[in-house]
């Protein structure tokens, strides 16, 4: 067991201990202790609810985020490559970007109803902008030397994109993908509190509404955090290292 896992695990255990002690000492009857939360989560697993909610949440993220990647990477690269076009479109992107994706919620419900598509659309919006911006800036900042070398060896424009520009921007795009994923996961949970009746966000809002089950509220929060951590770790592991 190495230190990189051991030390964070110790931090987690210590915080867990503080939490437990705080609940015991304060004598609260509303806020759950760690064993309460564990029992609540086990009940959810036994009733086969937790697995289904996780699956639904991941499915929505996969759709919305996946669509954002498929559209955002080529769009961003295009805007970076054709500078005039980029200059024309960029202010609009920068204007849309600071609007919280949740502000689109009423519109999403009008357009898509109370269906899976509404939260998927919000996740799509939330992930799209960081990806487009990363790809655009990435292409703009490809070292001119690489492009010059590509031209010197007689690459066609298509070859240039595939063999020089794309590999050169990949590390930057990856950073954008990772940031976008973090935003997507945050937005997903918020979106599920409003538009749908399954998923981890729904779990939290439903547990509170249906009898103030704060053990399930906190349990849901922990599950969201742990899954977020796991997926971010996956991104970190896959991140390409291509500095010179």
């Amino acid at each position: 067991m190495n230190r990189r896992i051991l030390a964070p695990a110790a931090t987690g255990l210590i915080l867990l201990g503080f939490w437990w002690l705080a609940v015991e000492w304060s004598g609260t009857i509303i806020f759950p202790s760690p064993p309460d939360v564990a029992r609540g989560l086990i009940t959810l697993v036994e009733r086969d609810v937790l697995g289904r909610y996780i699956r639904d949440s991941l499915y929505r993220v996969a759709c919305g985020y996946g669509a954002a990647v498929l559209l955002g990477v080529p769009l961003g690269m295009l805007l970076g490559w054709y500078r005039q076009l980029g200059r024309a479109v960029n202010p609009v992107i920068q204007m849309l970007r600071p609007i919280s994706p949740l502000a689109w919620m009423p519109l999403a419900v009008i357009w898509f109803g109370v269906t899976d598509i509404a939260p998927i659309f919000l996740i799509f919006l939330a992930s799209l902008f960081p990806i487009v911006v990363a790809a655009m800036n990435g292409v703009r900042n490809v070292p001119p030397m690489y492009l010059q070398a590509g031209r010197n060896f007689g690459l066609s424009p298509a070859q240039m994109i595939r063999r020089v520009v794309f590999p050169a921007v990949l590390p930057r795009i990856f950073v954008g993908l990772r940031i976008a994923f973090g935003v997507a996961w945050i937005v997903l949970v918020a979106a599920e509190m409003i538009a749908v009746d399954s998923g981890l966000g729904y779990l939290i809002i439903d547990a509170r509404n249906a009898g103030k089950r704060y053990d399930l509220v906190v349990g849901g929060m922990i599950v969201i955090g742990v899954i977020g951590l796991m997926l971010d770790t996956l991104f970190r592991v896959m991140q390409p290292r291509t500095e010179n």
Binding site: M145, Q148, A149, N152, F153, R241, T242, N244
Partner: protein
């Protein structure tokens, strides 16, 4: 026989005159150093002959053919940062060989890995190589497409002084084996005397050719021979420096 001919090259960026009436003939197989102070426009001159920049007036011809853009028959070598970090040594050398059969490509890659002394590093990525090795890799990538002319823009500027000396020896060895015409831009007087058949001395901006100095010393050159020192001193004089610190 004349390989590269500059005639009446003028270059201005907006209101700044960078190059003024440059005329120069480079013979086939010749090693020419373009020597001048930093920012004098010698890199611009190399970019013009490389086809990356169009001169304001005048023209460059190679084998009598006017240069209108970059061409794989003439390869530009940058400081070592020009190698592609996402490709390993083999892939970098093979980068320009996409028109060849796999068999021929393999053969060339193996040959140039040998020539620049990188055997054992075929699968290594640039980040795993030292500065000198990256520079050799870039030279190999350029040579692999079998160009007639190499343009080198201060290629050893970022290396430490010991590696730089080794790299000059390497480059001379490669030049003698491969019989290329070389245009080499530098601001280092010693470097130019060690390498070149002729040194073209440029003035401050707007750059003109101040002098063309023949370095008629056979290789390998003795850096303490009177002849070497005499030519070096002449270049110091042409640049406008007494060689005292």
């Amino acid at each position: 026989m004349t390989k590269v001919a500059f005639s009446g090259i003028n270059m201005r960026f907006a209101s700044t005159e960078v190059l003024k009436d440059i005329n120069l003939d480079v013979r086939e197989g010749e090693f020419v150093c373009i020597l001048g102070p930093s920012g004098c426009g010698k890199s611009t001159l190399l970019n013009i002959v490389g086809g990356f920049v169009q001169p304001t007036s005048g023209e460059v011809t190679i084998d009598g053919e006017r240069v209108t853009g970059p061409d794989p028959r003439r390869i530009f070598v940058f400081q070592e940062r020009g190698v592609f970090p996402w490709l390993n040594v083999e892939e970098n050398i093979g980068f320009g060989l996409f028109r060849l059969t796999d068999e021929e490509k393999r053969r060339r890659i193996a040959h140039y890995i040998q020539l620049v002394g990188l055997p054992g590093f075929e699968k290594a990525y640039p980040r795993e190589l030292s500065g000198g090795m990256k520079q050799r890799l870039e030279v190999a990538r350029a040579l692999a497409v079998n160009p007639d002319v190499l343009y080198l823009d201060e290629p050893f500027g970022a290396l430490d002084s010991i590696t730089r000396l080794q790299m000059r020896r390497e480059l001379l060895r490669i030049w003698q084996t491969e019989k290329k015409t070389i245009l080499f831009v530098t601001h280092d007087i010693d470097e130019s005397v060690q390498l070149a058949d002729r040194v073209v001395v440029m003035s401050q901006r707007p750059a003109t050719i101040r002098a063309i100095v023949d370095v008629d010393i056979p290789h390998p050159r003795d850096l303490s021979a009177p002849r070497y020192i005499k030519i070096r001193d002449r270049l110091f004089g042409e640049i406008g420096l007494a060689h005292q610190v």
